[in-house]
């Protein structure tokens, strides 16, 4: 259950929550502004004072992808972090370039869709689970599946069982970004051509079969295509470029 901001309605300015660090940017000489996807407070932006000093009490706890329990002091524009404890540092993610770039893409995507101070516990849980899965099974299928589920959560559930234009059956030959789904052979015009197996893989992923996809992954070409389509769909709906997706 999301931790409701205890007492915030009564005018108290201190709150506790759990969250995943999405990003961290330098501020002034020794501080950072940290963005967290929290369970009960939506996206939170808070200043971590003195964090860049070697002796900081925060240490590496507010590095991106870290799952933390934190306490913040509510500010007018930015909150101030007062305490942090690590729940999971996801260290495995930080030891491989591929894992790290995939993790960062998920963090960036969440940063783009999440709203500040608008609780979205489902998004928080999905991100936290995906990071844990990626740390255990470093496969590009994890972030790809995450993107599709994110689209679904945001109300853009991909249509993979019938042609988005005529309602016709498989085989499907192309993907329509605007309609968010497949097109049949008669309706391919204007769609993005896709390799055989792409629609089936997307269907497996959004149908909850990620474990199956991880255990028995499609070939790299199909997986690459499913990933490119996910990124293109996310960028189409958020109208923003997913910068980290180009760094693979």
């Amino acid at each position: 259950m999301p931790t409701a901001a205890p007492g915030s309605a009564r005018g108290q300015r201190l709150y506790r929550d759990r969250g995943v660090v999405l990003r961290s940017i330098k501020l002034g000489e020794a501080d950072r502004i940290v963005t967290l996807m929290s369970e009960g407070h939506g996206k939170v932006r808070a200043v971590a004072k003195g964090i860049r000093k070697t002796g900081s009490k925060f240490g590496g706890r507010l590095e991106p992808a870290t799952h933390v329990a934190f306490q913040c002091h509510r500010g007018r524009e930015l909150d101030v972090v007062t305490q942090v404890e690590t729940i999971d540092a996801h260290r495995a993610l930080r030891e491989h370039y591929g894992c790290l770039t995939h993790a960062v893409s998920m963090l960036e995507a969440v940063d783009q869709v999440a709203l500040e101070r608008e609780p979205d516990p489902a998004l928080y849980r999905m991100l936290e689970r995906a990071l844990r899965t990626l740390a255990e099974q470093p496969s590009p299928a994890v972030s790809t599946a995450f993107f599709w589920k994110l689209l679904s959560l945001e109300g853009f559930h991909p249509v993979v069982d019938q042609c988005t234009r005529c309602g016709g059956p498989a085989p499907f030959r192309a993907w329509d970004l605007r309609a968010g789904g497949v097109c049949c052979g008669a309706c391919v015009l204007g769609g993005r051509p896709m390799a055989p197996g792409t629609a089936e893989t997307i269907a497996r992923i959004v149908g909850g079969g990620l474990a199956g996809v991880l255990a028995d992954p499609p070939d790299d070409r199909v997986l690459g295509e499913v990933e490119r389509l996910a990124v293109a769909s996310l960028e189409f709906h958020s109208e923003r470029r997913l910068k980290s997706a180009s760094l693979r």
Partner: protein
């Protein structure tokens, strides 16, 4: 913020406020200080800035700051050319030098891979580093990028590139800050410190 001062005063505050680490309040304080001190002091500061900008360039070998073709470290014959310490910024060289523990050469990447900012490897001095490894007989590369997500991404990327070159690639150890308390160490730092423990 609305301009509250007359043209030239506000222009000065705005210019100062563009400097890193200078907020609106500091910019205002510095501007008022400059307006109060004798004109010759201001002229000296202005000339110093312009001259430094004119004379200082990048070392063509390591991309540290230099006043000539090569920087002081690249010109120093006593330094070990077979070991190269790779840093993100020129100021990191100063930090390493203060240890008096390193006597090799340097290479400045002029940044770090920052996926969310869209800074990729091609924006860094990586090609130049690889060329140096081939040309200068470098046998060990020490990756001294920052121990944060950007620095680590950069180090892992470089390690992967250097692998086929059959040279020794090392990374600065993460450990406990001297003078700190063990109980306050974060889990990643403590985990790595444990992994990198030494026999006594």
């Amino acid at each position: 913020m609305a301009s509250v001062y007359e043209g030239p005063i506000q222009a000065l505050i705005d210019e100062l406020g563009r400097l890193p680490g200078v907020g609106p309040k500091s910019a205002q304080r510095i501007a008022f200080h400059l307006l109060k001190i004798p004109p010759e002091d201001v002229a000296r500061l202005a000339t110093t800035i312009v001259e430094a900008k004119r004379q200082v360039t990048w070392c063509r070998r390591c991309f540290n700051f230099a006043t000539g073709d090569l920087c002081t470290y690249c010109l120093d014959e006593r330094r070990d050319r077979t070991v190269c310490c790779v840093v993100e910024e020129a100021r990191d060289i100063v930090a390493v030098e203060r240890t008096h523990e390193f006597h090799g050469s340097y290479h400045v990447l002029q940044g770090a891979i920052a996926p969310i900012e869209g800074v990729g490897p091609e924006q860094l001095r990586i090609k130049e580093l690889l060329a140096r490894i081939g040309d200068e007989g470098i046998t060990e590369v020490i990756l001294a990028t920052n121990p944060n997500i950007e620095g680590e991404a950069t180090a892992m990327y470089l390690a992967r590139l250097c692998k086929p070159l059959e040279i020794r690639v090392t990374r600065l150890a993460s450990g406990l800050p001297v003078g700190g308390d063990l109980e306050y160490a974060d889990e990643i730092t403590l985990g790595r410190a444990l992994e990198g423990r030494r026999d006594l």
